[in-house]
Amino acid sequence: MAIYIQKELFDISELTSNLVKDNTSIGAVVSFVGYVRDYDDTLTSKKLIQMNLEHYPGMTEKALTKIEVNAKSRWSLQSVCIVHRIGKLLPSDPIVAVIVASQHRKKAFQACEYIIDFLKTDAPFWKKEISSEDEIWVKVRDEDHKRKSSWNLEK
């Protein structure tokens, strides 16, 4: 189980190498990386110049561990790595990575999507967007909650 909350940039290839190291039963790795976009239509100028990411130390790690445990009970997975950055980020900076290793690709694809969908609604992170005119806390997207709920309907 590898969960990292950090200010520093992460290296997706290094994280993936560490995940598959010494495990010859892994047949598939799927990774998702989220980046800071420079466009948001809720900003007056639509143009984001910086994002500040805050979290709840302690609860974040617990929430991510719970999501990972739930994913592992739903699919048989070999290994999971979740990294989320905090602090000041700029457009094009990677924010989050979810890497899932399993024996076959289907489980890895599904589990990776499941983990990022639950991370969006259950892990206590908050984004503040900064433009030349505004500083606004990002609002919740209904779509994120719909995506999470859809997992409970699937068998």
Binding site: Y56, H84, V96, K120, A123, P124, F125, W137, K139, D144
Partner: protein, 86 residues
């Protein structure tokens, strides 16, 4: 009893502080009751928080919870806006 309160994101900005320890009566043992009593007793940011309660989430001891869940002496109670990570 003593409750250790934490604020995050927009709620932290509302209170201009990250944490506050409060003393409440044993009968004021839910986030809902605590917020109502502090809003009456102290007003200010507490009254603002009560006003925006529908868009505020609560956690007791680092687990998301309901407004009527039970608080115990020494608990960590957190108020924050809906989560927007990832």
């Amino acid at each position: 009893m003593k409750i250790n309160i934490l604020f995050f994101a927009s709620v932290r900005e509302m209170f201009k502080t990250h944490k506050k320890d409060v003393e409440i009566l044993d009968s004021e043992n839910s986030p809902n009751k605590l917020l109502n009593i502090l809003s009456k007793r102290e007003g200010g940011s507490w009254a603002l928080l009560l006003n925006e309660k529908d868009s505020v989430r609560v956690a007791i001891n680092q687990e998301l919870c309901g407004w009527d869940d039970m608080l115990n002496d020494g608990d960590e109670l957190a108020f924050f806006p809906p989560i927007t990570g990832g």
